[in-house]
């Protein structure tokens, strides 16, 4: 019989070891999954984890894929630290894509270097506006932010769909529900020749560093952590919980909005009914896997981005459904949550003598 014994505090080793343990367990379980689906496991794992990044182009695609996920996750992690559960990054991303892309359409064929910054600002504003709804409802009426931010995701996707099916539809597009293709001044410059990797990838790195600095070196970052870890202490110290709620939701919404703008001004290049295959939800996994730390999130984001590329590879090379990606991501989070027990508890074998101590 195995018993859990509380440690005095969190184990510093296991905090960093469990993400690796979870990743390892996911690989093993993934091999079993491939075998169950009737495919050779080693070959499957190779196609899933290795083949996508075995070329320089593959690496550039990995960075490109990780960009929106990391941007969303950095913002979400800030909120999770303060116990604010924004799970509507997907909707905030969609609003950012919509407003950012809307600027590209409003200034169609206008050739100015100011257009991209304008689009980025519009994207950030869109994400912030969408996140401000749960923030305001939480601060004013104490409404649960989980459900509000999630419901708004469905609303955002429907709003974008209404626009690209209606007023924003490409006039020369044979009635497809898509906007015009953006003109060159509305597309992010590529920073790595003969790949699709755009300047947004570098800006994401900057955002990771900025988030790290905010968390570790500023008063507001300190307040965020205290509100999450010790709400009572935060109250005695006079930290405003409302201010923290607004701060984390606006930052996470803004980052998600920027991610959406990067997608439409980057790899997609136009507005389509669906901008993201769930990056905003995947970011939740990445935030936890990265231990809610910006640098951890960067690496976790790369690993999870690989699961998207891997899903495409096993689909093309082995004819497996692309949904394998979602299963891998879910397993990863499950294994992480399960192994996290080791951070606060140690496993002890119950000796027969102790058995009847109660």
């Amino acid at each position: 019989m195995i018993r859990l014994e509380a440690r005095g505090g969190a184990s510093p080793i296991w905090i960093y070891a469990t993400p690796f343990l979870a990743a390892g367990l996911t690989v093993v379980a993934g091999g079993i999954l491939f075998a169950l689906l009737g495919h050779p496991p080693i070959e499957g794992l190779y196609q899933f984890f290795i083949a996508p990044i075995s070329s320089l182009y593959g690496l550039s695609e990995l960075f490109l894929k990780a960009t929106p996920i990391v941007l969303c996750a950095v913002g979400l992690a800030l909120g999770f630290r303060a116990n604010i559960w924004n799970i509507g990054a997907e909707g905030q991303l969609t609003l950012g894509a919509m407003l950012g892309g809307g600027m590209a359409l409003a200034f169609y064929d206008v050739d100015t270097p100011f257009l991209l910054p304008l689009m980025a600002l519009a994207g950030i504003a869109g994400g912030m506006a969408w996140a401000s709804i749960p923030a305001w409802l939480k601060v004013r009426f104490n409404v649960n932010e989980i459900l509000v931010s999630l419901m708004l995701t469905y609303v955002a996707v429907l709003l974008l769909s209404a626009l690209v099916h209606g007023p924003w539809k490409d006039p020369d597009g044979y009635n497809f529900p898509e906007s015009r293709l953006f003109h060159d001044a509305a597309l992010l410059p590529v920073v790595w020749d003969s790949t699709r990797m755009h300047v947004g990838v570098l800006l994401t790195l900057a955002a990771v560093v900025a988030a790290w600095v905010i968390l570790s070196r500023t008063l507001i970052g300190f307040q965020v952590k205290v509100v999450g870890l010790a709400p009572m202490a935060a109250g005695y110290a006079g930290f405003s919980r409302k201010k923290i709620i607004w701060f984390v939701l606006l930052v996470s919404g803004g980052l998600a909005g920027l991610a959406g703008m990067f997608e439409v001004a980057g790899p997609i290049g136009q507005l389509t009914p669906v901008i993201s295959p769930g990056y905003g939800f995947t970011a939740i996994i990445v935030a936890f896997l990265g231990r809610l730390h910006p640098v951890g999130i960067l690496f976790a984001g790369l690993l999870v981005a690989l699961s998207y590329l891997g899903g495409e590879f096993v689909q093309i090379e082995m004819g497996m459904p692309e949904a394998v990606t979602g299963v891998f991501q879910g397993m990863l989070l499950f294994f992480l949550l399960a192994s996290d027990v080791l951070i606060r508890y140690r496993l002890r074998l119950r000796s027969p003598l102790e058995g009847h101590s109660r």
């Binding site: 409404v143 709003l159 099916h165 991501q329 879910g330 996290d340």
Partner: protein, 309 residues
Amino acid sequence: MSDTAWIVPTIITVISASTPLLLAALGELVTEKSGVLNLGVEGMMLIGAISAFAVGVTTGNWMLGILAGAIGGVFISLLFAVLTLNFLANQVATGLALTLFGIGLSALIGDSFVGTPFAGLPKLSIPGLSDLPLVGPLIFGHDFLIYISFVMVVAVAWFLNRSKAGLVLRAVGENHDAAHSIGYPVVAIRYMAIMFGGLMSGLAGAFLSLSYTPMWAEDMSAGRGWIALALVVFATWKPYRALLGAYIFGGVTILQLHAQGIGVDIPAQLLSMLPYLATILVMVLISLDSSKLRESAPASLGKIFHPAA
């Protein structure tokens, strides 16, 4: 549409739209009464939907399909139970994980079932009674799961308020440490409550894929699991109010479909937003009276239980 002939069919569609919400909300209500917040309803619903559809189509037997939906829901909920009760994982994070995993796994299993037709569930037909005007189609013309949903409202209300086991379950949800010290098996009771939630979400999913829209489509629950979660709060953890809430939401859904049907000049997407916006509105209204919300919520909801052995 000149006379009142549309009323009965409309009510019937409202019943259909409300049933999955009601089933899932009742399950989650019991889970939450035991002190466990399972945000994985959407994922469990999808697993229930694909299990029911896969078995229903391959065996051609709708009863086996419903059974499979229920079993699928229970199995996937066990994952949540093990993680939160044995591994002491955060319930919010684990619930989210369950939903993400459920979406992925159901899409994977359902990949080969996309586009497969299914006949739907047989409607109850009692010669004589079913032909009665008004009452016939309203009371005697439904499928099995709709009747189950009403029976479960009464059963859950009786269980929670009138039975000894229900009292113990509520005690565990109010104060798990006190319940533990009296000698109640907190973990075992919560296992049961979580499995009941999985069973009901599984049935809700089975209703979606076998009856409401008899087919499989990825992510077909379209947020109903989350709406069911909101309904539990709306209902202040009372089964009869969950029934009321589910039917208000079902009504909003059908209102929106009908408005599209009779050609209201608003883009379809804007009307489709109504159930989600209504959920937010309801959450705001219910939060206005925060003291009432606080006293009706199970006091140990979402807290991790680890007895100091």
